[in-house]
C-alpha cells in the first residue's frame, strides 16, 4: 500500500513528487512514457510569467505569483537554467495604449512588481531588433525564462534521491475508490494507495471523471513553435509578447534559457489528445505574426519546429486540490499557461494538503537540492583543461554543435532516473539539440546508450519503447 500515487511525470507530477519527498511517505509516480517530461512539459514556451495576464482572484493568478517569486532561489537550489530577463507586451497602435495601462493595473492588483508602460523610444533602446511599427510596450521586469526540461528532470531526480519510486512505461487503465484507499490498475499490475494525485495534463479530465461526479473537461489547445539556432539567440533579450488584436492572440518572440531563439505558439483547439504534429499553416502563422514584433525573421536559422498541447479546462482556470466527492483524490487539472511558472508552487501546495491529510512527518534525512550538473561548453579554456585532467572523458566531444562531451552523456545516463533514450540524453545534456539536430551525434549517442545500458542497439529508441531507430542488420530481409 502506497501513501500516495502520483499519475504523470510531467513538471506538475515531478513537482508534487519533489515536495512530497520531504515527508515520511511511501510515494510512487506512474508514467506512461519511458521518461519524465514527455508531454506538454517538453513542448512549451519555457516562460516564467510575471503575472499581469491572469485575471485577479483566479487560482492561476495566485499560483503564478507564488511561482514567479519562488523561481530564482528554486532554480539555483535545483540547478535549473533560469534567467529573469523581463518581458515586454507590445502595442501596435495608439488605441492600444489604454489596453497596456489596463494590463498594468490588472498586474498590480495581482501583486506584480515593477510594471511600467514604456514609450516606443524606450522600448527600441532596450530591444533594437523590434519592429519600427510598435508604439509602446508594457515592461515587466519580473518575467523570466526557464529550461522546462531541467525544471521537470531536476525535481524528479530530487524526489527519486529522497525515496520516491517511479514506474515508467506504465499507463493507468482504471482507478477504483475503496472505502479508504484506491486500487489503481495499470497495463501490467494493480497498485493500492491511500491517495491519488492526478497530474496528467491533457488527460487529467479523463482521470478525474473516472472517480469524481464533478466532471471536468479538457480541450487540448495546440501551440506550434519555431526554434532558431543559437547564432541568433541574442536577437532579442526580453520575452516579447503582443497585445491581442482583432486578428487574434499574438505570438511571442523570446530567447530560451539555453540561448536559442523561440517564436510561437499558435492556439487552436483540437480534439485529438495525441496530436502534437506541426502544420504548414501553423508554422506560417507563427512566422507571420512574429514578423509584426521584430524587424525581420532570421528564417535561415530555424533548426526545428514543434508543437505542444495546452490542457485547457472548460472553466478557464486551474483546478487544484482534493475533490469534494472523492476524499483522497487530488487534482492538478487544467494546468496550462502559466502552469510552468506555477509548477513549483502547485507541488508545494498539493504536498502540503496530502501531508496534512495523512498526518505525515518531515524526514530529517531529506536532501533539498541537487549537485551541480557539469556542462563543458560554457567553461573557460583553462577550466575546460582542468576538467579534462580530472576526467579524460570530458576531452571527448560527442555533440559538436552544442559541444557535449562523453562524460556529460554518461552522467546523464547514470544519474537518478537517468536518460534511456536519444531524446532523454538530448533533454539532459543538449546533445542533438543544436543546429544539426543530432545528425552527427545521433549514432554516437545511440552507441553510448547501448553500451552504458547494456542493451542491443536495436532496442535503443528515440523516445519511449516503440520509437526504435534501427530495425535490423544489413541484408536481414534478403
Amino acid at each position: 500500500m502506497y501513501d500516495v500515487v502520483i499519475i504523470g511525470a510531467g513538471v506538475i507530477g515531478a513537482s508534487v513528487a519533489r515536495a512530497l519527498s520531504k515527508y515520511h511517505l511511501k510515494v510512487l509516480v506512474i508514467e506512461k512514457h519511458s521518461d519524465v517530461c514527455e508531454g506538454t512539459s517538453k513542448a512549451n514556451s519555457g516562460i516564467v510569467h510575471s503575472g499581469y495576464d491572469a485575471k485577479p482572484g483566479t487560482i492561476k493568478a495566485k499560483f503564478n505569483l507564488i511561482g514567479n517569486h519562488m523561481m530564482s532561489d528554486f532554480c539555483q537550489k535545483y540547478r535549473v537554467p533560469f534567467r529573469r530577463n523581463g518581458s515586454l507586451v507590445l502595442a501596435f497602435s495608439e488605441e492600444d495604449i489604454p489596453k497596456l495601462e489596463a494590463l498594468k493595473i490588472q498586474g498590480m492588483s495581482n501583486g506584480v512588481a515593477g510594471l511600467e508602460v514604456l514609450t516606443k523610444q524606450q522600448v527600441l533602446a532596450m530591444e533594437p531588433n523590434l519592429n519600427d511599427s510598435i508604439v509602446a510596450a508594457l515592461y515587466a521586469p519580473t518575467g523570466g525564462i526557464v529550461d522546462p526540461f531541467e525544471l521537470t528532470i531536476a525535481q524528479a531526480e530530487v524526489a527519486n534521491m529522497n525515496g520516491v519510486e517511479f514506474k515508467f512505461n506504465a499507463f493507468v487503465t482504471n482507478i477504483a475508490k475503496q472505502s479508504d484507499y484506491f486500487i489503481i490498475s495499470t497495463n501490467n499490475e494493480t497498485i493500492e494507495s491511500k491517495t491519488v494525485i492526478n497530474c496528467t495534463g491533457v488527460f487529467s479530465d479523463d482521470f478525474n471523471n473516472m472517480v469524481s461526479e464533478n466532471k471536468l473537461s479538457i480541450t487540448p489547445r495546440k501551440g506550434e513553435y519555431c526554434l532558431f539556432d543559437k547564432e541568433v539567440g541574442h536577437f532579442v533579450d526580453k520575452t516579447i509578447f503582443q497585445l491581442p488584436t482583432v486578428y487574434g492572440k499574438g505570438v511571442l518572440v523570446t530567447p530560451t534559457a539555453e540561448n536559442n531563439l523561440l517564436m510561437g505558439p499558435t492556439a487552436y483547439d483540437i480534439y485529438d489528445k495525441y496530436d502534437n504534429s506541426t502544420t504548414a499553416e501553423g508554422i506560417k502563422e507563427v512566422l507571420s505574426k512574429a514578423a509584426q514584433s521584430v524587424k525581420y525573421i532570421p528564417s535561415s536559422y530555424i533548426i526545428t519546429a514543434f508543437s505542444g498541447l495546452r490542457a485547457t479546462e472548460a472553466s478557464g482556470d486551474f483546478v487544484i486540490g482534493e475533490t469534494i466527492d472523492v476524499p483522497g483524490f487530488y487534482n492538478a487539472v487544467g494546468i496550462e499557461s502559466p502552469g510552468l511558472t506555477a509548477a513549483p508552487a502547485i507541488g508545494d501546495y498539493l504536498s502540503n494538503l496530502v501531508a496534512i491529510k495523512l498526518k505525515a512527518n518531515l524526514k530529517s534525512s531529506f536532501v533539498d537540492g541537487r549537485d551541480e550538473i557539469i556542462r563543458f561548453e560554457p567553461l573557460s579554456v583553462s577550466d575546460k583543461a582542468k576538467l579534462i585532467e580530472s576526467n579524460h572523458e570530458y576531452g571527448k566531444i560527442i555533440c559538436r554543435c552544442e559541444m557535449v562531451t562523453l562524460a556529460e552523456i554518461k552522467d546523464a545516463i547514470h544519474r537518478p532516473l537517468g536518460a534511456n533514450s536519444i531524446d532523454g540524453v538530448k533533454r539532459r545534456t543538449r546533445a542533438g539539440a543544436g543546429r544539426c539536430q543530432g545528425g552527427f551525434c545521433g549514432p554516437r549517442v545511440l552507441e553510448i546508450l547501448s553500451k552504458e545500458l547494456n542493451k542491443d542497439p536495436r532496442d535503443i529508441a528515440k523516445f519511449d519503447q516503440q520509437a526504435i531507430l534501427l530495425v535490423g542488420f544489413d541484408k536481414d530481409t534478403l
Binding site: 519555431c226 526554434l227 495525441y274 502534437n276 504534429s277 506541426t278 502544420t279 504548414a280 501553423g282 508554422i283 535561415s300 530555424i302 533548426i303 526545428t304 519546429a305 514543434f306 579554456v381 583553462s382 575546460k384 583543461a385 579534462i388 585532467e389 579524460h392 572523458e393 576531452g395 571527448k396 566531444i397 559538436r400 559541444m403 543546429r435 544539426c436 539536430q437 543530432g438 545528425g439 552527427f440 545521433g442 549514432p443 552507441e447 542497439p457 536495436r458 529508441a461 528515440k462 523516445f463 519511449d464 516503440q466 520509437a467 526504435i468 531507430l469 534501427l470 530495425v471 535490423g472 542488420f473 544489413d474 541484408k475 536481414d476 530481409t477 534478403l478
Partner: protein, 419 residues
C-alpha cells in the same frame, strides 16, 4: 604552447591533401587535427565506387581513395592527432584543441588551413510539418549506420532530395534489402550527378519525382508514411496533388552546409552563397595566414577536385610562410548572369604560376548555353555547353599571360550566355 608552422584542421580528403601539398613544398612542420578516431573523414563510410577517376584514372571506393592519401601522409611522417577537437582559432593563429589524452592543446601556427568539410542540412531547416517520430534520418547518418555499424535504419524508404548522398543511399538501401519507394525532389532537376541518377535510381527502377516535396510526416512514434505533393514554380505544394506514401523511414538529402563555426568565430569573411569563406586565388581567407579548401570552402561534387584544391592550399600556406604571397594587385572576379558563385573571388596574377582554375556553379539549368569569361569588357572565353546544371560544378581556366598582357585590368566576369 606547441609551435608548428602549419596546422590543418580536419583530416578528411582536403586535410590530407593539404598536408601533402605543404610537405611537398618543403615545409615539414605540419600537424593535422582530426576529431574522429581515424583519418579519411566521410570517405570512410562512402563504400561505393566512383572516386579517383580524375586523380588516379581508376575507379576506387571511398575508403580506397582516402587510404592512398592516409598512407602517403604516414609515409611522409606527417603528424596527426586523432579524436582531437579544435575549439578555437585566434586571429594571431593560436589553435586550441582538446582530446582525452592531452587535455587542452594550444598550438602557435604560422599558417592554418581550414579543412573541416561540411555537414548535412537537417529536417528543421526545411520545416516539414507533421510529427517528430523515429525514422527520419539524414542520408549520411543512415549511410553511417548501414556501412559502418551494419544496421538498417528502416525497411521501406522515401528519400527527400536528390543530392548525391541521397541517390547513393537509394541504391545502398536497396542492395541491403530495403524497399526504396521513391526519391522526391522539389526542384525541376536533380541536385546530383547524372551518373548517380542512372546508376543508383534508373538501374534499380526507383522513381525520381521531380517538382515534388514531402508536405507531412506521419506517425507519432515511428514514421508510418509521408504525404508528398507536386509543387508549382514557386515551390509551393499544389492543392489536390497530395499523395500518401507508406514508409517507415524518411531519408533527407537536402543539401550540405560547409562547417564554418570555427571560421566565423575567428572572424573570417564568409560568402553567403557558398556559406564558406571568401578566398583569393591562393585559397587564403580574409585573415592572413588562414587558408581554406575542400567542402568547408564550397561543396564539391567530386573528391578529386577537393584533393587538388587542398593540395594548392597546402602549397600556398608554405609560400605565405616564406613571405612569397603578394597581397596587392587583387582583381575581383564577378558573378555574371547565371553564375551563383565563383571560387576564388579574387585573382592576383603575381601568385599564379601559369594558370588558375575558377570553379563555379550555375544558378539554374541551361541547355546549349555558353560559359563566357570577360576581362573587363573583352570576352576571352566563350565555350558552348550542352547542359549546365547547379548540381554539377563547372570550371574555367584563366591563363596568367592574359593578365600580364592587361596591366590595367579591373574586373573578371564569369557569365552564362545564350549565344
Amino acid at each position: 604552447m606547441i609551435n608548428k608552422d602549419i596546422v590543418i584542421i580536419g583530416g578528411g580528403p582536403a586535410g590530407l591533401s593539404a598536408a601533402i601539398g605543404a610537405y611537398e613544398s618543403g615545409n615539414k612542420s605540419i600537424v593535422i587535427l582530426e576529431r574522429d578516431n581515424l583519418l579519411g573523414g566521410i570517405l570512410n563510410q562512402c563504400i561505393h565506387t566512383g572516386f579517383g577517376l580524375h586523380t588516379f584514372k581508376e575507379e576506387l571506393t571511398g575508403p580506397e581513395y582516402c587510404e592512398r592519401y592516409v598512407e602517403k601522409v604516414k609515409n611522409l611522417g606527417i603528424e596527426s592527432k586523432l579524436e582531437t577537437m579544435v575549439i578555437d582559432i585566434s586571429t594571431d593563429l593560436i589553435v586550441s584543441a582538446i582530446n582525452e589524452i592531452d587535455g587542452l592543446i594550444q598550438i602557435q601556427a604560422k599558417a592554418v588551413i581550414l579543412t573541416m568539410g561540411c555537414r548535412e542540412r537537417p529536417r528543421g531547416a526545411l520545416n516539414i510539418p507533421g510529427y517528430r517520430p523515429a525514422g527520419i534520418f539524414s542520408a549520411g547518418t543512415a549511410q553511417r549506420f548501414v556501412n559502418i555499424e551494419g544496421y538498417m535504419p528502416g525497411k521501406t524508404v522515401v528519400i527527400l532530395g536528390s543530392g548525391d548522398i541521397g541517390l547513393i543511399m537509394a541504391r545502398r538501401m536497396t542492395l541491403e534489402g530495403a524497399n526504396v519507394k521513391m526519391v522526391v525532389e522539389i526542384m525541376p532537376y536533380s541536385g546530383g550527378l547524372k551518373r548517380n541518377i542512372v546508376q543508383c535510381l534508373d538501374d534499380f527502377s526507383i522513381p525520381l519525382k521531380l517538382s515534388h516535396t514531402v508536405t507531412k510526416i506521419h506517425g507519432s512514434t515511428r514514421v508510418t508514411g509521408v504525404t508528398i505533393a507536386k509543387v508549382d514554380d514557386m515551390k509551393n505544394p499544389i492543392k489536390g496533388s497530395e499523395e500518401f506514401v507508406e514508409c517507415d523511414t524518411l531519408l533527407l538529402s537536402v543539401g550540405l552546409i560547409p562547417e564554418n563555426e570555427l571560421s566565423r568565430k575567428v572572424g573570417v569573411i564568409m560568402n553567403p552563397k557558398t556559406q564558406g569563406p571568401v578566398v583569393s586565388e591562393s585559397l587564403e581567407t580574409s585573415i592572413q595566414g588562414i587558408f581554406a579548401a575542400g567542402n568547408v570552402l564550397h561543396v564539391h561534387d567530386l573528391v578529386d577536385h577537393v584533393s587538388s584544391e587542398a593540395y594548392l592550399a597546402g602549397k600556398n600556406a608554405v609560400k605565405y610562410i616564406q613571405g612569397l604571397l603578394d597581397n596587392q594587385n587583387k582583381i575581383d572576379i564577378q558573378c555574371g548572369n547565371g553564375v551563383r558563385y565563383t571560387v576564388p573571388s579574387t585573382l592576383n596574377y603575381k601568385n599564379v604560376e601559369d594558370l588558375t582554375q575558377v570553379r563555379f556553379r550555375t544558378s539554374d539549368v541551361y541547355k546549349d548555353a555558353y560559359v563566357s569569361v570577360y576581362l573587363d569588357k573583352e570576352r576571352i572565353i566563350h565555350s558552348k555547353k550542352r547542359i549546365l546544371t547547379p548540381g554539377e560544378m563547372e570550371q574555367v581556366t584563366i591563363l596568367k599571360k592574359w593578365l600580364l598582357e592587361r596591366p590595367n585590368l579591373k574586373i573578371i566576369t564569369v557569365i552564362i550566355e545564350k549565344e
